[in-house]
Amino acid sequence: MRELAILVVIGLGTYLMRASFLVTAGTDPPRALARVLPHLGPAVLAALVVPSLAAPRGHVSVAETVPSLVAALACWLLWRRTARLPLALFGGLGVWWLCLGAVSVVGGGAP
């Protein structure tokens, strides 16, 4: 019950952020907030992406980190070339599986 209550609070807070400017369409954000807003997306998403790519399964190592970086590069290239989201994501995931398989073969089957 505690967990559900916390999720409801987050949901309400998130909804207020979503509605903030959309519902009052016509009002501009305060200047101080307007300076910060453009940087929130890149900062937060990169803070989520970089640690997860460096340690996709919880620890940093050549066998774990290199395949995920190669997959990220493939995903980025596919997205830039085609602008097709499904192709970029499935392609990146496929490259990761291939690299993991190759690492496993080279490393004699050790994960």
Binding site: T14, V44, L45, L48, P51, S52
Partner: protein
């Protein structure tokens, strides 16, 4: 049989705005299958009851915050920390709201309230991409139908995919791990945002600080990275100005 004459070619050949929105949404739902399935599987194995964890899909409707919130709940983090971390992750929605507002000025207020609930990264990207096109006629009703078509499709799809992940995520073959689906999805959301020096500075500093601080407990590494990234972006933006 009656002869109605020539129909305008555009009305026959071009699908309605609602249909176009639904099609755009379906493409995104397809792309989100690996991430949604992986998230659903993670939600089912956190120690929080599966139904409560899945309820984060309709309550939060945003995978990144759902993942952070449920992982922190499972780790026993205090309520304030869980709420703060999830709100920081979702703070980018303020930007989306401010950016979409000028396109929504002609929408009835009640539809803007509903539209706000559906505002999430891919729906925002689809909508702003469509509304900024040179062939968009700016008609508010058509824009609203496109937005609702894309948003409702994403909402239904997201609830279904994460629900499926909760139910069958544990049955996925070990040879096909999905842990990278989430970061790859966030990466594809991040790339279009890197439009200048300030955005690049925010991303590089945010990512590196979060990595350096990833050993900190309770999602504090994410908060440190986000704060440092925003600070770097503001500084770089100030120098550019």
């Amino acid at each position: 049989m009656t002869i109605t004459g020539h129909l305008p070619r555009r009305s026959v050949a071009e699908p309605s705005a609602l249909t176009q929105g639904v099609r755009g949404g379906l493409s995104v739902v397809l792309a989100y299958v690996p991430f949604g399935t992986a998230l659903g599987a993670a939600l089912a194995h956190t120690g929080v009851s599966a139904l409560t964890a899945w309820s984060s899909s309709p309550l939060l409707f945003g995978g990144a915050a759902q993942l952070v919130a449920v992982q922190l709940l499972a780790a026993g983090a205090p309520a304030g920390v869980v709420v703060a971390a999830a709100m920081v992750v979702n703070a980018r929605l303020l930007l989306y709201s401010a950016s979409l507002a000028p396109h929504a000025r002609g929408w009835p207020r009640r539809w803007r309230w509903l539209g706000a609930y559906l505002l999430v990264d891919p729906v925002y990207a689809l909508a702003v991409g469509r509304f900024s096109r040179s062939d968009d006629d700016g008609d508010p009703a058509r824009r609203l139908r496109f937005y609702l078509g894309a948003g409702a499709t994403m909402w239904v799809g997201w609830l279904a995919i994460t629900g499926l992940g909760v139910l069958v995520g544990g049955l996925l073959p070990a040879a096909l791990p999905l842990q990278l689906a989430a970061p790859l999805t966030f990466l594809v959301l991040l790339l279009p945002m890197l439009t200048g020096r300030a955005a690049a500075a925010a991303a590089v500093v945010g990512g590196l600080v979060a990595l350096a601080a990833s050993g900190l407990p309770l999602g504090l590494g994410l908060l440190c990275g986000a704060a440092a990234g925003v600070g770097a972006g503001v500084l770089a933006g100030g120098r550019d100005a």
